[in-house]
């Protein structure tokens, strides 16, 4: 009896929790489907009208592609740092490599507003302010912790016996890396790239402070439009980002073990 009661309470809690998480998403997507300019939910005469407007407006489109370009650059840059760092920790486990990894983890643990002031000052000081590559590099540094965690986990899970077997058969370090290590850690590299991509896509404050006046990403555009009042295209932008995020994480789940990637013990069931 108490077992059934507990199960019912558990279901109810999960349902309410899911409702809370989903409510703003559902409402924004709903509003984006209105066919009039009015902000109403449920939508009146649902249509994809505002999606067509979004994709034919060069300003929204350019904000969207700028965001995609920065996110791609930031993901690649962060991985270009995380991969050698994690490899060095795994291969040599020296204090130097561990200290560098620790340093790379730090920015992510600090309040975003502090990091954005740091990079605002830094890029101004270099005399290279307001460029798209500034935003990319700042995002890569801020999110570096994420690929460090995923790639480190990938290295950690490699069976050392495989490496030793390859070495016994005469493979050099570079052969071992290419033929044994790389295929094994590839899913972790891809997840790290996807995580940074989605996080960078959505980041507002650093992007705004670093180069917000010249390099307008989608979150910056939405924030700027917020001051001017409601526009249904804002909902379209938000809805698109929700879809991109959900698709990206579904891909991560498909490619690898999502629970394990997030730190869970692997279980067989």
């Amino acid at each position: 009896m108490s077992g059934a009661l507990a199960a019912g309470a558990r279901r109810l809690y999960l349902a309410l929790f899911g409702l809370f998480l989903a409510a703003p998403l559902v409402i924004v997507i709903g509003v984006s489907l209105n066919s009039t300019r009015r902000m109403s939910f449920p939508p009146e005469q649902a249509s994809l009208h505002w999606y067509a407007v979004f994709f034919s407006d060069p300003r929204w489109l350019s904000a969207f592609t700028t965001s995609l370009a920065i996110a791609t650059g930031a993901a690649l840059l962060a991985m270009a740092m995380a991969l050698p760092l994690s490899y060095a920790v795994w291969k040599f486990h020296t204090r130097l490599s561990q200290a560098l990894v620790g340093l790379g983890m730090l920015p992510f643990l600090l309040p975003g507003v502090v990091v954005s002031v740091v990079y605002l000052i830094f890029w101004g000081w270099t005399g290279h302010a307001g460029k798209i590559e500034d935003t990319m590099m700042s995002h890569a540094m801020f999110f570096l912790a994420v690929p460090l965690v995923t790639v480190n986990l990938g290295f950690h899970l490699i069976d050392r016996a495989l490496v030793e077997a390859a070495q016994t058969m005469g493979a050099r370090d570079s052969d071992v890396f290419r033929t044994v290590v790389l295929p094994l850690i590839l899913p972790y590299i891809v997840s790290g790239l996807i995580f940074v991509f989605v996080l960078s896509l959505n980041e507002y404050l650093i992007a705004y402070m670093v180069a917000g006046l010249n390099v307008e990403t989608l979150p910056i555009k939405v924030f700027n439009s917020l001051r001017l009042g409601f526009e249904p295209t804002m909902c379209v932008g938000a809805a698109l980002f929700m879809l991109v995020g959900t698709a990206a994480f579904s891909l991560v789940a498909l490619l690898g073990d999502l629970p394990k990637l997030l730190g869970a013990e692997s279980r067989r069931d």
């Binding site: 998403l25 291969k91 404050l205 959900t246 069931d269």
Partner: protein, 283 residues
């Protein structure tokens, strides 16, 4: 270690070490430098050493805002941890497919831009949207009205932003927890609720505390929700920093406030390490 292997290690580390130095160590060093630099209206700042900006931090507006931010952050962190813990516990106990589905939803909301979340809440709390009508139907409101800007809207939006983070921070510990202990307690006749409060909660004290502290740090740094959903009296220290840097053009002041915030954050993060140490399994 052989010299050859040492050389190989250094050759691999040269690029990331240089990048970390140039784009992390130097920028943070510069923050320290600018916080004591001279404010220069034309060039924003010029090299020098003065404590003007740190003295300016003692102004009552800054101190009040800092205290208000701390209270807000603790309130948000406590609320989201309390809501997240049972949820993370249920998810960690599910079959794999269920876990993956919930994790995808959590990650999707977690990664959603502060701007988009604040905007979604603004839409949701608008007069013409169903929520205010539901409140009328429940008898909480006399007639439909806009439910923002106010303190409640800021808190709700921040809880929404922090909630997935707290779940994901508690989740690993809960999924590794030995569930046999809880089962044993239940076999011995304890009710599920009693097992939850007397067995599971005490076992998970460390992870709960550290995720609550990290949630506090995250809340302190948020800029957009108080700006979009709050009135000026709901602005946090992050908003003051942003305004000092952008609207005010006072980089030394923004730097000094950032250092104050940084010190507070590092102290809090240090606390999680201490809490974590105390939770190492003892034999």
């Amino acid at each position: 270690m052989s010299a050859a292997s040492r050389l190989r290690e250094l050759s691999i580390l040269v690029w990331p070490a240089a990048a970390l130095f140039g784009f992390a160590v130097v920028p943070f060093g510069l923050l320290l430098g600018v916080s004591v630099a001279h404010r220069d209206v034309e060039g924003l700042w010029s090299a020098g050493f003065e404590l003007t900006q740190f003295a300016a931090l003692l102004n009552p507006t800054v101190l009040d805002t800092l205290a208000y931010t701390a209270v807000l952050a603790v309130l948000v962190a406590a609320t989201s941890t309390a809501l997240a813990f049972p949820f993370a516990y249920f998810v960690a106990g599910m079959a794999r497919r269920g876990q993956v589905a919930w994790l995808i939803l959590l990650l999707s909301t977690l990664s959603l831009s502060e701007v988009l979340v604040a905007f979604s809440w603004q839409v949701m709390l608008a007069k013409r949207i169903g929520l205010s009508e539901i409140f009328v139907w429940l008898g909480w409101l006399a007639e439909p009205q806009s439910l923002s800007p106010n303190f409640g809207a800021v808190v709700a939006c921040l809880v929404y932003l922090v909630l997935p983070i707290t779940v994901l921070l508690i989740y690993p510990a809960l999924s590794r927890m030995d569930r046999h202990v809880a089962e044993a307690a239940q076999t011995l006749g304890a009710s599920p609720l009693r097992v939850f409060f007397t067995v599971i909660l005490p076992m998970m004290r460390g992870p709960i505390l550290s995720s609550a502290i990290l949630a506090t740090v995250f809340t302190i740094g948020t800029f957009v929700p108080p700006t979009v959903l709050g009135r000026p009296e709901e602005w946090t220290i992050a908003v003051l920093i942003g305004r000092a840097a952008l609207t005010g053009g006072n980089l030394p002041l923004a730097a000094a406030m950032s250092i104050l915030l940084l010190a507070a954050t590092l102290a809090l993060t240090g606390l999680t390490v201490v809490v974590g140490r105390g939770q190492e399994p003892r034999r």
